[in-house]
Symmetry: C2
C-alpha cells in the first residue's frame, strides 16, 4: 500500500470498480463520535447506483453516529488485489427501517451463500442507510 | 458481519488476535479532517507490543490528520475469516521520521515478499506513527 503510483479522485464510483460493492469484499465504515473522534468497523455493503447502502443495527455506535453526524467514509479493498480499492467519502442522505430484513437476507446470500441471515434475533432493529459519495479516491490495482 | 453474537471490548489487543498485526491483513485507518468529517483508507500495519505502527507519507491526508488530530481508529479483518477482527480506537502518541525506509522494507517483506519496498521515490518523506489503543473492540471469529 501507500505507493507512489498515480491515484485518482472523482465524485462517482468508477464503473470498473463497482464490482467491489457486489462481491465478497467487506467495507470499513468510518464515522465520527459525539466527542469528535473516529470510529471504524467492518461491515457488509451494498449499492444502488452510485449510492452505498449499509444495513446497521440501531443499537450500534455507527448507527447513532450516522444519524447524528451524517458525514462518513468507507474503504473497500478487493480481496484478490490489495492495490485495487475504493476510499469513499460521503454523506448519509437517508435511513429507512423498511425492508431491512429482506435486505439482510440478500446480503447473507451474497456474503454467506445462505438464503436467510442466520443471526436475526427477537427485538432486532435495523435501518438501511443510504450514503451518497462526495469524493471517491481509488486505485485500479494495475501497478 | 453485524451479527448478534457476543463481542468484546478491552483497552489491550488480545494476544489471540495479535497475528492480525503480523500477517497479510490490511488495516483501515480512520482519521478526522479539519472540517470534522472522517477519512479512511487501507494501509499496511505493524505493531510494537500493544502499539500499532503505521508508516505514512507526509503528503497524505491521513498524515496531516494524525498530526493535527491524534484520535484515530483502525479496523483489521482476518483475510481468512471475516468474523475475526479488531476495531481499535486509539491515539497517536508520537511520529518519527527515523528509520522509515528500513521499516517500509520490513513491511514490503511481510506484505509483498520482496526485500525492498519497490516504490520509493526521490524526495519521499514519511513518518512512523505510533498509535496506542484506548479501546479494542474485537470478535474472535468463533461464531
Amino acid at each position: 500500500m501507500a505507493n507512489a503510483t498515480p491515484k485518482h479522485e472523482d465524485p462517482h464510483i468508477p464503473a470498473a470498480l463497482i464490482d467491489l460493492l457486489e462481491g465478497e469484499a467487506l467495507g470499513h465504515l468510518a464515522t465520527v463520535r459525539a466527542n469528535g473522534t473516529p470510529h471504524v468497523t467492518p461491515l457488509w455493503i451494498d449499492h444502488d447506483g452510485d449510492a452505498v447502502l449499509v444495513n446497521v443495527r440501531l443499537d450500534r455506535v455507527k448507527a447513532a453516529n450516522m444519524r447524528e453526524r451524517p458525514d462518513v467514509a468507507i474503504s473497500i479493498v478487493d480481496p484478490r488485489n490489495p492495490y485495487r480499492y475504493l476510499a469513499i467519502t460521503g454523506r448519509v442522505v437517508s435511513s429507512s427501517v423498511d425492508g431491512w430484513r429482506e435486505h439482510m437476507n440478500k446480503l447473507a446470500l451474497r456474503y454467506m451463500k445462505v438464503d436467510r441471515y442466520p443471526w436475526f434475533f427477537e427485538g432486532e432493529e435495523r435501518a438501511i442507510f443510504r450514503i451518497v459519495p462526495t469524493n471517491v479516491y481509488y486505485e485500479m490495482g494495475d501497478t
